[in-house]
Amino acid sequence: MARMKFICDAERCIECNGCTTACKNEHEVPWGVNRRRLVTVNDGKPGERSVSMACMHCTDAPCAAVCPVNCFYTTGDAVVLHSKDLCIGCGYCFYACPFGAPQYPRVGNFGSRGKMDKCTYCSGGPEADLSVAEYEKYGSNRLAEGKLPLCAEMCSTKALLAGDGEVIAQIYKTRVITRGYGSGAWGWKTAYRETVAI
């Protein structure tokens, strides 16, 4: 089994928001819910870098640990998914997540902030693969069709890579060696407790 990961090569990211738009369109994600987002650090200064961030599908995911109803599970491809039937919208996963991945349809917690929504690595949820119920709750299931997440597939500069951790780490490593520089595999240390050694 592959160990699925994301890597964002900040040297290539041009902040075009193609990944976020692809994600929104593919899964019909409503306004205000941002499964993937683009953050620019050091804006306007030398060394400005943009990083596309979504759920990193952590090893030992903090969201899963703190969930009071244990609605998270990890698939055989090491993708962290959750059940919207169990989620009570308490917001704890957002406090624990180092990457700000969990999203809620409503802002307040008064009454209900709604079921949490996050990046599914384009692989749906606990419902039957490619079922209507799965699409309505979690969006499409590209992984079940043998395809990788659309954000990475659509990335115009191939800054965002998705796939087996070892394969994409090798691609990134080759790039860094070829061009001679790289700002690191953003989020890897926090998510996977490892980094891409060059």
Partner: protein, 343 residues
Amino acid sequence: MTRLLRIALAGLALALAAPAAHAQTGRDVPPPAQTQNPNGANPTAGAVTEDQLFRELNKLQGRISIPDGKAAVLEQPQGREWRAFRESWLPWIAGVAILGMAALLAIFYFTRGRIRLEHGEQSGEKILRFNSFERFTHWMVAFCFIVLAISGLNYILGKRLLMPLIGPDAFAAWSQWAKYAHNFLAWPFTLGILFMALVWLRDNIPNRIDVQWIRQGGGFLGDGHPHAERFNAGQKIVFWTVILGGFAMFGTGLLLLFPFSAADINGMQLSQVTHATIGVLLTAAILAHIYIGTLGMEGAYDAMGSGQVDLAWARTHHDLWVEKEQAKTASGPQLRPRATPAE
């Protein structure tokens, strides 16, 4: 052991709201020597790396075009410390506080036993101790508190104790309702706390009589009955615990009800830690209050039940208050079935 130490340090750091150091396990190898860039510029000269930013800042923050301030935080490793507190410390704090209190009360019950009415504490005459508004306020807060405490503990212990028994689906449905109850009953609870503060504050200001009461062990340990006004020092402690604890719960709870309205991610984590910790301690304290008001002392329940207590009981436990009440005229605010001669 080192793991425990690290968690302890993490919890401490959170408690102090200090920007805790990001736990780093690996090290990035520095980029290799610069290759020639076509335009002569060195793209790495000013480039930032994640490592470098974490060394300078406790979290990575940038700019984002969507109007969502919290989305601009790229990475916040403090989530791991919050997790360590919530998953490693909090269940223990909750368990020890609540079971510890229950054990203490059980020990007290079996050694000291129920504090019985003494001879001559049943005169048949009644004196009004709490009027209907006071009782209404007390029971509104009490009801809300019990629901809030149970639904609050459900966040911490539910998945450990209840979920294995009833299964994930039933537990999720129950937790959803518990969350609604928690969010909505917070308001009558706070209102009740406010009423309590208004009506009972005057009688709960500590004074010299309290020092004496505490010195004599409140009558729990010996057989004597130290002097007490309307509320003895023990009751005053309960009052201040409830008032201060209640308002602290309201303040931190408000931040959690309206997430990110006034606090950033670290502020939210801190409010949750404070809310949960004060919550479990308050629950333990109230257990003692419930015990002494019902099982622990005969005759005490009437004060909040019917509102009327036996005059002789009142004379034993709140002698100075009875004197003051009776010094008032019979047509005063306190109702009495028969005029009792002042002593």
